[in-house]
């Protein structure tokens, strides 16, 4: 629990901080340099460029783009659906991980492998899979094509493995005797789960949720077939950005991209705060 050690009494924290501020050795200096260079080339500079080109039309231009009704609708839909899907994933993903770790049943190994398929499939194939089952020719008689359910469904499909895969290893590492100790102290299974198991899982659930949300707001491939990209109804932010680029309006595309960047950052920070709170409360 590296997170919680930071709550240690002052002396420990201070000792660590002073050790860290000392000069770096040559090798770790070199390592840090390479890491920063790589990170800058791949992430920081492109991001900065996007933000810069979003600002090329001035603040007024930026605000005008993101407050335009079709864009706003697209961003709202994306964020809302991603949040909903993330919430569902937190519950379902934890449950699936639990079943995979704690229960014994036939075909468990197969299920364990199959979990990754939504993530491993090319997203357009995922879209095709969903279209064949939940589209106009659905054998189940469920046609969600061109509705907002389609957006939710597609996002849920592609983000399914994230929480499962982050929670699973942590759950496997949990010591059985901690739960037994809780039981012998009189705690019911529910209390043990809530007060002993959950706090240990929360960091990994939060990490899975962050991944799931990030993937959700960026999703494009699996949506386009099923949702129909109807403006103001089922059009998501990524499609909106793509439309702007197709029309040669890079500045507007960058403006939407920047907004999404801010949203993603905000959500990831919020998840981290929630996670710290819950993990500490116990």
């Amino acid at each position: 629990m590296s997170l919680t050690t930071s709550t240690a009494p002052g002396r420990v924290t201070r000792a660590r901080r002073s050790a860290r501020s000392g000069s770096l050795s040559v090798t770790s200096g070199l390592g840090l340099g390479v890491a920063m260079l790589w990170f800058s080339l791949l992430v920081l500079i492109p991001l900065a460029m996007v933000v810069a080109s979003a600002g090329s039309t001035g603040l007024g231009g930026f605000v005008a783009v993101i407050t335009e009704s079709q864009t706003l609708a697209a961003v709202q839909l994306t964020v809302l659906q991603s949040l909903m899907v993330t919430a569902v994933n937190v519950v379902m993903g934890t449950m699936i991980a639990w079943v995979l770790v704690r229960d014994r049943f036939q075909g468990k190994r197969i299920l364990d492998v199959v979990i990754d398929i939504p993530f491993a499939l090319p997203t357009i194939v995922a879209g095709l899979v969903l279209l064949s089952l939940y589209g106009p020719n659905s054998p189940l008689g469920l046609n969600v094509a061109n509705t907002r359910y389609a957006v939710f469904l597609a996002l849920a499909f592609v983000t399914l493995p994230f929480v499962v895969r982050t929670v699973q290893p942590v759950l496997e590492e949990l010591e059985a005797d901690v739960e037994e100790a809780s039981a012998s102290l009189g705690a019911t299974r529910l209390t043990t789960f809530r007060r002993i198991i959950l706090p240990s899982l929360v960091p990994s659930i939060a990490a899975g949720a962050a991944l799931s949300f990030a993937r959700g707001i960026s999703e494009y491939g699996s949506l386009v077939l099923l949702s129909g990209n109807l403006p103001n109804h089922t059009e998501v932010a990524a499609v909106r950005v793509f439309t702007f680029i197709e029309n040669g309006d890079t500045a507007s595309a960058a403006a939407v991209a920047t907004l999404m960047l801010i949203v993603a950052l905000a959500v990831i920070v919020a998840l981290d705060i929630i996670q710290r709170r819950v993990a500490r409360r116990g």
Partner: protein, 336 residues
């Protein structure tokens, strides 16, 4: 009788963990379940705690039929070998856990936690996390946590097994003193005979899923029921077909006397105040065997005694059982 165990059988698949175990554990005493690893002693403890079910047989705790009660309802305190600390909670929170579950008032809980932390000498660490404590401190915290709920019995599963030798010894003394203060019926599992002999009021020797002997440390040491118990309680050697303790053998250099076994000293090892001799008998069963063989007898003398006798490698000595010696007939195929 605080814990009454009757005719317990337990199998894990084909492996027989416990076979026809019946045992009464008296109230207020410190009882040790002693035996080699895999002998079933931990399983028995876990059955008492309700963490493991029985295939057959019954468990009564303080007169209450507990065989099918879940662990939550048995009111037993359990201490695990690897502490089982709640890592995300402070020491005080760990200790308070059982009280909070029982919905004690905040003031009550606080007072009791302070008392217990005082008892286990952890008051100044109340706000630390378990990861900031040493192993010994963690185990004391676990003990306080188990005692917090005022259990009818306290069960300890190899409580000092994960600690280094010095801390083990300290905690062992401390557990004995604590028990003299608290007087809760305590059962602890150990594979360390010294620990059991030193701490327990009563020892139950368990091997291969069966009880070999029950008795006080002195009874077990002076009158072991069989060669297994004898050899498990300390080093043994064989003289004239009898299992004996190396320090119970008299050595003389005076010459042939009736009832003694002549032999040649083939190895001599000095460890601190004692001298360990390996003697190869020149007549009888062990005669003529190769080095380190069956027939060799191990004898322990004090350094001064050995010097007085002037023994060295190659000298001829005569061995006989000490008059007060404990001996057991050696089984054809010894368990050890």
């Amino acid at each position: 009788m605080s814990i009454e165990i009757k005719d317990i059988n337990k199998k894990f698949g084909d492996f027989v963990a416990l076979e026809d175990i019946s045992l009464n554990i008296p109230t207020g005493q410190l009882t040790a379940l002693l035996g080699p690893s895999g002998g079933g002693k931990s399983t028995l403890l876990r059955i008492i705690a309700g963490l493991e079910s029985t295939d057959e047989g019954t468990v009564h705790i303080e007169g209450v039929e507990a065989t099918h009660l879940p662990p939550q309802k048995r009111n037993v305190g359990f201490v695990f070998q690897h502490y089982a600390a709640f890592k995300h909670m402070s020491v005080a929170k760990n200790v308070a856990y059982g009280l909070e579950i029982r919905k004690r008032s905040k003031a009550d809980t606080k007072k009791r936690v302070a008392e217990l932390l005082e008892l286990v000498h952890l008051s100044q660490f109340a706000h630390r996390l378990p990861s900031q404590l040493s192993g010994g401190q963690r185990q004391r915290m676990a003990l306080a946590r188990a005692l917090a709920v005022e259990p009818t019995v306290l069960l300890l599963d190899e409580p000092f097994g994960a600690l280094d030798a010095k801390v083990r010894k300290e905690l062992r003394d401390w557990l004995r003193r604590l028990h003299d203060e608290v007087h809760v019926t305590t059962v602890f599992v150990t594979h360390d005979q010294e620990e059991a002999l030193e701490v327990a009021d009563e020892i139950v020797v368990i091997n291969n899923g069966r009880i070999e002997q029950i008795g006080s440390p002195d009874e077990l040491y002076d009158a072991p029921a069989n060669d297994f118990v004898m050899s498990f309680l300390g080093p043994v050697t064989t003289l004239e077909g009898l299992l004996m303790r190396p320090h119970d053998i008299d050595v003389s250099t005076a010459g042939e006397v009736a009832g003694t076994t002549p032999g040649e000293v083939v190895r001599m090892l000095r460890v601190g105040f004692e001298v360990r001799l390996t003697v190869r008998p020149t007549t009888g069963r062990g005669a003529g065997s190769s080095p380190g063989q069956e027939g060799d007898v191990t004898v322990v003398l004090t350094r001064s005694h050995a010097r007085e006798l002037g023994i060295d490698v190659g000298s001829t000595v005569w061995l006989s059982a000490n008059r007060g010696a404990t001996s057991v007939a050696r089984r054809a195929i010894a368990a050890v």
